[in-house]
């Protein structure tokens, strides 16, 4: 029996195990939406902006490990998801985006709502394809899911012209894909693995440096095993958080620009670096010429392009991190089976790290006048009993969350790392909540980021998705303001947000609960009440606009040269009140003096 392209689309998605699609309709995808609404097995989450759909699908994918699915129309529908695609591309998120296209006979005619979807998305997808013939549709969808989820995951775009969704053909879903140019390498070279194990056994000051690859590579258990049998401390990138329990005695938390003093010092003095699914991003390395000057480097990654891209690797191992670490752990166990001896040997190094930790721990001073953002994050961490899925936006609040939320499990930390997309957090939290309706999902955001995708509040309300939005409202683009204070003589160009909307009224307008904490003394109650509430909640918590995030490696600075507190000149200028004046009363933004 012949069926339409639209039916093939739905049937193929079902075969791929898709339950939820995030999207928004339009002219050229009407046929697909028409078939979709007649099916019970595919749920459509109708977003209010296509960008929201893309980030929801990312949140869904990051929380579940499965591909997130987006369905949007041609032209503006497609261009609106570009940020989401670019974000997913940077953070290796498996995403399959279906975009409508004008009929094949109109392509290239500058038709209504036409855009060169494959051309626009080429540099920000892992792969993309324009399906010109309905007979190729099922194969294209099969391949899209395979490419998105295998190897180093990433976004794949499938462009479906209107006439292809209407045309009919026999449906036969392919059992397997055979892409002669795409065979992800997974094994890991045995002799390299042995060499790595030998290097690990002889190292005196080793560090395991874990990135997002370990999350999508599902290598959490293997990382833990490696750390425990070798007693090597673990530090994680922003994307790698959760892979290794933040509360574990061998955890050093995050490294890099706003990482802990101790983890950056450990990296700087390490004699061996075991990089697992990490890509030596500039936010991690700082000045490359002074990064880990004494370390030999073992670099395990499924993507060969990540190896030696920015930093040298003495022992490169191309392969799936899970499988490579498994093999490596077997070799390591065969080399030394005595945990006590290992502990003793590692003790001076771990003691040194502990000393650094005591020397410069994370600090903030909470008084009774104004709420510090760190205080809110730390409280939230306690109140969620360390079990919540946390989505963040981008900026200071993201760094505070990364510092204070010691995640226990992978896939509970959803953040935009590579692209640094403000507006990511809230839709990502919705995506995760759709995937796990019964788990607690918290979105830590700020008013700057939140206002970039707040239209999706209605989605939370409509589906009663109990996302808890903790909005750190400080009236400024905090990270921009921090850089201006540190590097631009406190000239606040475009970083003060001035007039603030009333977020509690906004929540009310969208039919969800709104709460506000103006003073530190109100924070606990607001958080408790918000977390207790059954439905979605927007908690508007007013925080200190001038709190800075430390430690900080200034951009391009060396990793061991961290700023640990406000520089003296800045403190002085604040005391004199010459540079600025605070106005953080309710309803008023921060105004330049």
């Amino acid at each position: 029996m012949k069926i339409t392209g639209a039916e093939i689309f739905c049937e193929s998605l079902r075969r791929e195990g898709v339950k939820t699609i995030f999207g928004l309709p339009g002219g050229v995808v009407l046929k697909i939406f028409d078939v979709l609404c007649q099916r019970k097995d595919l749920q459509l989450i109708l977003t209010r902006h296509e960008q929201g759909a893309a980030h929801m699908a990312e949140g869904y994918a990051k929380a579940t490990g499965k591909a997130g699915v987006v369905l949007v129309t041609s032209g503006p529908g497609m261009t609106n998801i570009v940020t989401g695609l670019a974000d997913a591309h940077m953070d290796s998120v498996p995403l399959v985006a279906f975009t409508g296209q004008v009929s094949t006979d109109l392509i290239g005619n500058d038709a209504f709502q036409e855009a060169d979807n494959v051309g626009i998305s080429r540099p920000c997808t892992k792969h993309n394809v324009l399906v010109k013939d309905v007979n190729d549709l099922a194969q294209a969808i099969k391949e899209a899911f395979y490419i998105a989820t295998s190897g180093r995951p990433g976004p794949v775009l499938v462009d479906i012209p209107k006439d292809v969704s209407i045309a009919k053909t026999e449906f036969k879903y392919p059992d397997k894909v055979n892409l002669r140019g795409y065979r992800p390498f997974t094994g890991g070279d045995k002799s390299q693995i042995r060499q790595a194990a030998e290097a690990i056994m002889s190292a005196k000051r080793p560090v395991i440096y874990v990135g997002g690859g370990a999350v999508f590579g599902d290598a959490s258990d293997e990382v833990r095993e490696l750390a425990e049998i070798t007693q090597i401390p673990v530090t994680m990138t922003l994307m790698g958080l959760g892979t290794f329990p933040g509360t574990h005695e061998l955890s050093m938390g995050m490294l890099g620009m706003h990482g802990g003093y101790w983890s950056n010092m450990a990296m700087h003095q390490a004699d061996l670096l075991i990089a697992v699914g990490a890509r030596f991003d500039d936010r991690v390395t700082g000045k490359l010429s002074e990064f880990c000057p004494e370390a030999r480097v073992i670099h395990i990654d499924i993507d060969p392009t990540s190896i030696r891209k920015t930093f040298h690797a003495h022992i490169p191992i191309v392969g799936d991190v899970k499988s490579v670490l498994r093999q490596m752990n077997v070799v390591l166990r065969s080399m030394d089976g005595n945990p006590a001896a290992m502990k003793a040997r590692r003790s001076p190094w771990l003691k040194q790290i502990d000393a650094w930790k005591k020397e410069h721990p994370l600090v903030y001073k909470q008084d009774d006048k104004i709420t510090k953002p760190q205080y809110v994050v730390e409280k939230l961490y306690e109140l969620t009993k360390h079990e919540a899925i946390v989505a963040t936006d981008v900026g200071q609040h993201q760094m505070f969350a990364a510092q204070y939320f010691k995640g226990k499990k992978p896939r509970t930390w959803l953040t935009s790392g590579g692209l640094g997309t403000m507006g990511f957090g809230f839709p990502a939290a919705i995506g995760a909540q759709v995937a796990f309706p019964n788990r607690q999902v918290v979105c830590i955001t700020s008013e700057g980021s939140f206002q970039m995708n707040l239209q999706e509040l209605v989605v939370a309300a409509e589906h009663n998705l109990p996302v808890k939005i903790v909005l750190l409202n400080n009236g400024v683009h905090g990270m921009v303001r921090q850089w201006q204070d540190l590097f631009y003589e406190s000239r606040y160009s475009a970083s003060l947000l001035g007039k603030k909307p009333d977020f509690v009224k906004l929540a009310d307008a969208y039919g969800i609960k709104g709460l506000r904490a103006l003073k530190p003394s109100e924070v606990d109650d607001v958080l408790k009440e918000g977390l207790r509430h059954k439905g979605p909640v927007l908690m508007d918590i007013h925080t200190d606009p001038f709190e800075n995030c430390y430690p900080m490696i200034p951009a391009g600075g060396a990793q061991h040269e961290m700023m640990l507190e406000d520089p003296a000149e800045l403190v002085q200028s604040r005391k004199g009140g010459t540079a600025r004046k605070r106005k953080v009363d309710e309803g008023e933004g921060v105004l330049p003096s």
């Binding site: 080429r122 892409l179 140019g181 070279d189 392009t305």
Partner: protein, 173 residues
């Protein structure tokens, strides 16, 4: 250093854009580019001449390998290879220069493929040294126009078994 890289790809639309985009997105320059189907009509060979240090070339090779439609990538510079380029050169030929133009063409075993009262068009095929040498010989006569195909390359059969310099994991299985 200059490298000649042969990229075997699926003969599909958009593949060239993907390969070229990979260079432009990273700020790498393409010195010359040639594309044509191979013996197997489902594949095309893209020959790229590019310049870069070892680190850049390693990235280029890896990035090319990562493209789904790329079937294989060979950097000829690592082995013994033959390369050729065809150039059509239109030289001004005042009456007193005609003999000289013919002589130069003969020396380089080039052909005069077109003539007009004021120009000869000379076709030359050869490796880069030969082509450049002939161009420099013709320059004094006055080159009116010049067009090059871009270089193509093929490995010499005797060196086919030479082991690749980079780790095997970087090559597609």
């Amino acid at each position: 250093m200059e490298h000649i890289i042969s990229v075997l790809v699926e003969n599909k639309f958009g593949v060239l854009a993907r390969v070229a985009g990979l260079f432009s997105a990273r700020g790498y320059n393409i010195e010359s580019l040639s594309v044509a189907p191979t013996l197997d009509p489902t594949t095309s060979m893209i020959t790229i001449v590019t310049i870069g240090d070892d680190r850049i070339i390693e990235q280029i090779m890896k990035q090319l390998n990562k493209v789904v439609e790329v079937l294989s990538v060979v950097d000829h510079t690592e082995t013994d290879f033959l390369d050729r380029e065809t150039v059509l050169i239109k030289v001004n030929t005042k009456p007193e220069h005609r003999d000289e133009a013919i002589r130069i063409a003969e020396i380089f075993r080039a052909k005069i493929v077109d003539s007009s009262p004021t120009t000869y068009t000379i076709e030359i095929t050869g490796d880069v040294d030969k082509v450049e040498a002939m161009i420099s010989m013709l320059k004094p006569l006055g080159i009116k126009d010049l067009i090059r195909t871009g270089r193509i390359a093929i490995a010499r059969e005797t060196t086919r078994t030479a082991s690749p310099r980079r780790e095997p994991a970087l090559l597609k299985p």
